[in-house]
Structure formats: structure tokens, C-alpha cells
Symmetry: C2
């Protein structure tokens, strides 16, 4: 999982709804319709809300506002259904902001799953969607299973095993399922050991990274995260060494490339001539269990499955057994109650964004600054 | 990938069609209809054909014949469609042999994808299907994308991170896509560092296993594979240590548990009271690109994607860059031409099976014994 639950001691805390409202205002100023800006804002703040800070508001000035500045995202674009087979759709997103279009695509898939049992949206001309798990958790909250994968367009960051050149992106994907009364199960992962955002977050924080994340040209471990953006270190595939499964991380990255980009005809890393993250492809799948069997029984069995994991005997009684999605949900619950923690430098960035857009950042909640 | 390409020097080589024919005869004697026996035999021999010997004929006496002996597989069972929403089906496999039923389920999914763009079969009361990649490659050969996941019924082999008790199976899944004129891309993986079959194959061969596959109760590396079946060593999740992504292997295992078993209501490891591999659930998905866009363009782009990987500059010119499915296809090509290699002890097992069923094992091809 991409969780980075460590909270900077110099953090401020902001009310979640105020922070999301502010972020929506920024997107509205950039041309998104208010309802879409609200959806996009909650998708972006999801990272900070759940502790996945590598995919949260830190990317507002680094990724999303530059997409508008460079006209690489079109705030007014609608989704165009290019082919419609009932259960399966091909969609041209026309460079709409991924933070919104991924949710719109998941809603389309859910609607079709409600009729056909399964709904699939294959999308091209997408842009970055942030935390994939935000959109699949939305499906789980409706009692469905949701799957979302996105490639990185033509961006080339990772080398295939044995290759002297980077050809693929980190290619994230996510699946979520209801867990009865518990928080949904949410897998949200890059196909590398960690996503690039965690390497860069460590670089910003001046921290070294564990052995196993990066290697140099000769395959020796690198623990200085700044070496990555200098091109002196390469991100490793999930699985690490060949004998412990690096081929599986590579294979999963190709799964995302095939489902998300080859299927709809989006830009692909290995064949891209531009080498950047435009024309990203999404693969969105929703499954409605209640169209195949009794929904109540399904939800009861969901509760039993994930409850059995929570009840499993722990090696260390102070570290109970959990499942993916649980730690993020706990972080979100605390952040909704006590405010969303933002590192002081990130808060300063938001103040600058506010000034630039004639807006005001919400006032931090008392006592933690 | 589950490839174990090492060929025992004491191996014999058998003609592929003769070996598949013999295996089909064995299944016919156990009550399968001849056309189903042929399908099941090719699914099983696929392991030996492609070099994935951990999932090949070695499992005939260890897994499949005992399923018949113990009446845990019903050779005469048909697939029963319990719910039919056009694109999505719920199927009761009534303990039919998984080596056949996985293919029948994939054919059903392909048929529905041909109409709806996507076809999904959610199946319960399944039994072991062997190499998942055999069935997804079949979809790729038809120009489709195929996905197959199977849980392990109630079998509990692997501990969730932090748990003192095993609750989940190795939970394999596979996806395949066409690669134009090249062999299909085929991911076929367990969600652990390696499947149990590779640990047991090392134990049979008297070989130690690399650090990273097994750990003892205290988390120390174990390299003696025999410790696994003595309960003194635990198989590790893909990702290895927590800081290099073991949570992702665990999360992928739960993806399979949710898709393959929770969705259809099959037996699940964490909630099983029986603790064994009965009532396995399958999740089968087929996608027909040609229902969404021009199939010829899709195949052309498939060729470009996988061709670009094959053409990538290699770190070592003697080790060209490949993609999952390629090494297995090369192994299969050689085995079709020169015979399927079988280790001498496995050949002896087949001779015993032949005697037991009043059959004759095909004569090894000359010169290699």
C-alpha cells in the first residue's frame, strides 16, 4: 500500500470539508464546473485524508495546476462514449482532469453493472487521477466490487528486467470490495516496490530510503532518494530481485499497460515517441454481486471474510492483524475528527496557490501549529 | 512467473501429442467424457510443455487422481448456470475437474464477450485448474484479453502479515493478451514469492531454496525447502519484507479471495471450517477488443507494444529483454519439436499410473535417456 502515515511534527490540521471546499474553489477558478470541481477536490484531498500524502495535495502545484497551465488538461471536456455494447464502453476523455473523469467512468461502470452484473469502461485521453483507491472505494461503498487501473501514458520511468532503458510507468491499479460494517478492503498499489511519489517525498523530507527501493546502473542498492531524479538510481519492480519475483512486478505493470492502454488505444510507454504522461488510459470495472446472487448474503459473507482477518491471532498482541484499506480508513476517521494534517511546507504552498487565485486557505484548527 | 526451466539431466523426452493422449486416456478411465479428458490433459501437460513443471504432470498422482479417489472431483459433472445477466454469469461447477471447467468457463466468457464486449463467469464448487496461464493464453489466441483467478477453497497455507496462523492460499491469477505475431503476453503468478509447487519441487530435487522464499517463526530466512511441509517454515508474500511491499502480495491474495471466492460464494480460507481445498472459486473475465474498436488496429498495436519490449536495448547483449509468456512459449516450441522433457522419477510415476489403468506410457524419444 502507498500509506505514509508519519505525520510531520510541524504539521497544521485543517477541517476536511473546508480543505476540500478550498481545493474545489481552486479547480473552479481553473474552469471546472462546480460539481466536477467538488469531485476532483475530494479525490485529491483523499491522499492527505487517508495518510497517502505522496498522492495528495502535494501534487496540486507539482502535477495538476501545471496540467492546466500547459493546456494538457481541458477543464471543460466531457466524456464521449465512442462505442457502447451495454456492459462495455469505449470512452474518449478528451484530456478531462483525471481526478474527475475516473469518478465519472466508475459511475458509468457501476450503472452498467447494475443492469448487466458487470460494467467495463475502457478510456483513452485521460490524465492523472491521483489515488486509484478513492474511486474503487466509492464502488465498494455502493456494495459493488470496483477495479481501476491507469497506465502513465508515454511516461518511461522503469526499466524492464535486463533493459538498459526505462520503458514503463509505475502503472498503478486498485481493487476494492465491501467488508460489511468494516471499512472496505482497498488494494491500491504501484507495480514497483513504491510509487515515485514516495521516493520524492523522502527526498523532500531529507530522509534516506530503505534498501530495495532503488539501485544504480550496476544493480547496487541506493538509499539516497535524490539520486532518482538525477537519473543515478532506478526504481525496482515489486518483488525485488529476480529470484524473489521481480518478474511479477514487471508482469503486473504490463497487465496495466495491456488493460488500461492497449485495450482503448491510449499512449503506451514502450511505443511512445513523446515519452510523457499524456493520453493516459484507464481500465474501469464494476461488478454488482446482487445481480448474480442475494446481495444481503454477499454482504454477510464480506463481513465474515474481513472480520476473520481482523480476529486472527497476532504474532504481537500490540500489532493486530489488519487488511488493506483498514489503516487508511482509521487515518481518515481521525483526520475527519481532528483535522487533516498538512506538513508546514505544503500549507505554505497552499497559501501561495490561494494568493494566486484570490482565495483564502482555511484557518488551521487550533493547538497543533 | 512460475517457470522452472531447469531440465533434469536424467530426463526422458516424450512426443507432446502422445503424452497428452496418454493423459487424456487416464482421465477417460476416471470417468471424463473423451472431449473433456482431452481438454483437461492438455491443461495439465501445459506445465511440462512450457517448463512450469511445478504445475504439470507431477500433480497427476499428487493432486488430481486423489481427487477422484476421494470423490472430491466429479468426472461427470456439468457446469450449471445459476444466474445469467448476459455479460455476467454465476456458475455452479458441481466439483467438475478444474482442468476442464476452467476452460469451459473461459469459453463461456469469450462467447459472452463476443456479444457484450466483456464476459464474466463467477464460479463456485470448482477444483484445481493447474496452470492459470493455459486458459488465459487460450483467450489471447482468439484475439481477446483473458483473466482468470482462483482461490484455494478453504486451504490455509499463508499467514497474513503479523498473524500467528495461516489463513489464505497462494491464490494464483493470470492475465493474457495477444502480442500480434509474437507469443501472447501471459502473466501467471501466485501472490506469494513462489507457489508451493516450487518449494516442493526443490524438496524433491534435494535443492536448497533462495533466501526470501521461506522464514521461520521468528522471521529468520530458511533455505531448506523440506522445512515447509514440516510446518517449520512459512512461505513469504510477494514483496518480501514490509518495507519492500509484502503488504502488496497480501493485498493481491485478498484480491483473488474477493473476486474468485467472495463474489460467487465459494469456500474462503479465513472463514473455512474445513481448511481444505474444496469448493474453490474461479473468476473468469474475457474482453473482446474488436467489439469496442477495430480489431486489426488493436492487434497491430499489440505487436508494437510487445515488439518494443523485445527490441529494447539490453544491459547484457546475451540476455535480451523479454516479456512474460515469451520464455514459456520458447520452451513449448522446443518441447513440441524435440519432445516434452520429463524427469526420470516422474516418468516412473506415469508408468505406475499406466499399469494401474491398464494403459501404456508412450515410448520416450530416442537418445536422451
Amino acid at each position: 500500500m502507498t500509506t505514509t502515515a508519519t505525520v510531520d511534527r510541524t504539521a497544521v490540521r485543517l477541517d476536511y470539508d473546508e480543505l476540500a471546499g478550498f481545493t474545489a474553489e481552486v479547480f473552479t477558478r481553473r474552469g471546472l464546473a462546480p460539481d466536477r470541481a467538488e469531485i476532483a477536490a475530494r479525490a485529491l484531498v483523499h491522499g492527505d485524508l487517508t495518510g497517502v500524502t505522496s498522492h495528495g495535495l502535494a501534487n496540486l502545484t507539482r502535477l495538476y495546476l501545471p496540467l492546466f497551465d500547459d493546456k494538457r488538461a481541458d477543464p471543460a471536456a466531457d466524456l464521449e462514449i465512442v462505442a457502447d455494447r451495454g456492459a462495455a464502453l469505449l470512452v474518449d476523455a478528451h484530456d478531462a482532469l483525471g481526478l474527475w473523469s475516473a469518478r465519472a467512468a466508475m459511475d458509468l461502470a457501476l450503472e452498467r453493472a447494475g443492469t448487466h452484473g458487470v460494467g467495463m469502461v475502457s478510456l483513452f485521453n485521460g490524465t492523472h487521477f491521483g489515488c486509484a483507491g478513492h474511486f474503487t472505494a466509492h464502488a465498494a461503498e455502493q456494495g459493488a466490487l470496483g477495479f481501476l487501473a491507469g497506465n502513465c501514458g508515454g511516461q518511461r520511468i522503469i526499466r524492464p528486467p535486463g533493459a538498459a532503458e526505462a520503458l514503463l510507468g509505475t502503472n498503478p491499479f486498485s481493487i476494492a470490495a465491501p467488508a460489511g460494517p468494516y471499512p472496505p478492503y482497498v488494494l491500491d498499489m504501484s507495480t514497483t516496490v513504491v510509487p515515485t511519489g514516495r521516493v520524492r517525498a523522502a527526498a523532500r523530507a531529507g530522509r534516506s530510503v530503505p534498501e530495495g527501493w532503488l539501485v544504480d546502473d550496476a544493480g547496487r542498492p541506493v538509499t539516497d532518494p535524490t539520486a532518482f531524479d538525477r537519473g543515478e538510481a532506478h526504481l525496482q519492480w515489486l518483488g525485488g530481485r529476480p529470484e524473489t519475483g521481480s518478474y511479477k512486478g514487471y508482469a503486473l505493470s504490463l497487465m496495466v499497460e495491456a488493460l488500461a492502454a492497449l485495450l482503448p488505444g491510449a499512449e503506451m510507454g514502450p511505443t511512445s515517441t513523446k515519452g510523457r504522461d499524456d493520453n493516459i488510459g484507464f481500465f474501469v470495472l464494476a461488478i454488482a454481486p446482487g445481480r448474480l446472487r442475494d446481495q444481503g448474503t454477499f454482504l454477510q459473507q464480506s463481513e465474515e471474510l474481513f472480520g476473520a482477518l481482523l480476529d486472527a491471532p497476532a504474532l504481537d498482541p500490540d500489532s493486530p492483524v489488519r487488511y488493506p484499506g483498514w489503516p487508511e480508513a482509521q487515518h481518515a476517521r481521525a483526520a475527519r475528527e481532528h483535522g487533516v494534517p498538512l506538513a508546514a511546507p505544503l500549507f505554505a504552498e497552499l497559501e501561495a496557490v490561494a494568493a494566486q487565485h484570490s482565495l483564502t486557505v482555511p484557518t488551521p484548527l487550533g493547538g497543533t501549529r
